[in-house]
Symmetry: none
Subunit: 126 residues, 4 copies
DNA sequence: GTGGTCTAGACCACC
DNA sequence: GTGGTCTAGACCACG
């Protein structure tokens, strides 16, 4: 599937799952009405406890991104795509803001920040 | 002083203090031999529990950034400046990498990422 | 304390806790700024697993009824009283509606329903 | 038919079916010897999985409300009417008790409870 | 001491 | 098979 968890991320695992489901919906990799992987399946895939996945799905349900269909699974709501596209920029923007703020506060000038960004962007492509 | 703590940062408070002390040293705002604020003073200033500051100082002591001077306080070691300048890019780079990775994974293309960065950079200047 | 859990209620335990906290706030038994019982304490008192209490508190946090104070506990927010007083009638009204609907549907006429209510109300006072 | 299922009721669907069959018998809408709808027919009508209906009928059979007639279907037993009329008040009374208990516990006084009941009763007639 | 997170494993209701 | 709930017990960060 389209998820990758990084335990040393700082973010809680369940939160990473929440974010990645949102991103997958925002990127049309998951569409309205589609079923997300079952709790057990995703747990196995990510080598994570089912409860952790269940918790993430619970959060997404509370945010009206997913809805449970009895005995069938969890499906993406019709509201989800719009909401997730809106969320995506906000979620990433918040983290980016926090990092850039620290960089600036840490005494890096704009040039140093830019070159650091360039370096990390090319590292990403590799 | 030169510290600002953001409790909703994801990073633990003590870790934010550790990082900011390192950054202050890297930026020459704190020089070798200088005394850092006392645990109590900094705790009051940041509206944080003294134990939290104490823990941060403990970590910095273990990394040989700070050394305790009996009856006086904690001073910046002579090794600190070099070490902190080295650390600074690494610490910020790691967080930046994590965010950019999420952005890329989240389906943003290079242009969208760049414009998001521009937006956050200008927000920072404001 | 002011909570009583009924495992054979149909409602999940964590949901009963959520509702009862709301009711306690609505009834001014818990006021804004006050600390609710700690997770472990309430768990012990109700003879329930701490995770169950924690989950209830998590829901209340998400609804902005409680806020966690690092290392101290969970406190009632300033928004809580108004919100809980609004919620109380709705929550009870919903259950009442469901029961009365069933009674009516079950072929009881208004008189029979009224006398059943009277009977249960006096049972309550006993 | 005379059934209405509410999935957000708290009660399990199969239990709602059990109760409603009992109520229909108690109200003489179903009489001794009459055939209840087939599993498939009722399942289609309620937009519910046939297994769920089958389970409900199984419970009713175990309680001697229904009896299967080979090759024909399930019929209402001769014992059923008496038994169901007895059950009806008990089943509804139990739920009513639970709600009123919560209302009283939630800090509503007798007047507030009464006016809430009035409100819900008139809502029902509409 | 506090809450937050995670694991492991169980039982239930529903499909 | 599915999700929902609960228990038991662990570790972490924070005060």
């Amino acid at each position: 599937m389209f998820f990758n968890i990084d335990p040393s991320n700082g973010l809680a695992i369940y939160d990473q799952i929440v974010r990645q489901v949102k991103f997958a919906v925002a990127a049309d990799a998951l569409r309205a009405g589609e079923l997300v992987p079952s709790v057990r399946e995703l747990a196995r895939e990510l080598a994570v406890n089912p409860n952790t996945v269940s918790r993430a799905y619970g959060v997404l349900q509370a945010e009206n991104i997913l809805a449970s269909v009895r005995g069938t699974g969890m499906e993406v709501t019709t509201d989800a795509p719009g909401q997730c596209r809106k969320d995506r920029l906000r979620l990433i923007g918040e983290r980016l803001h926090s990092v850039l703020q620290e960089a600036r506060f840490g005494g890096l000038n704009r040039n140093e920040i830019s070159s650091l960004i360039e370096k990390e962007l090319s590292r990403l492509d590799a």
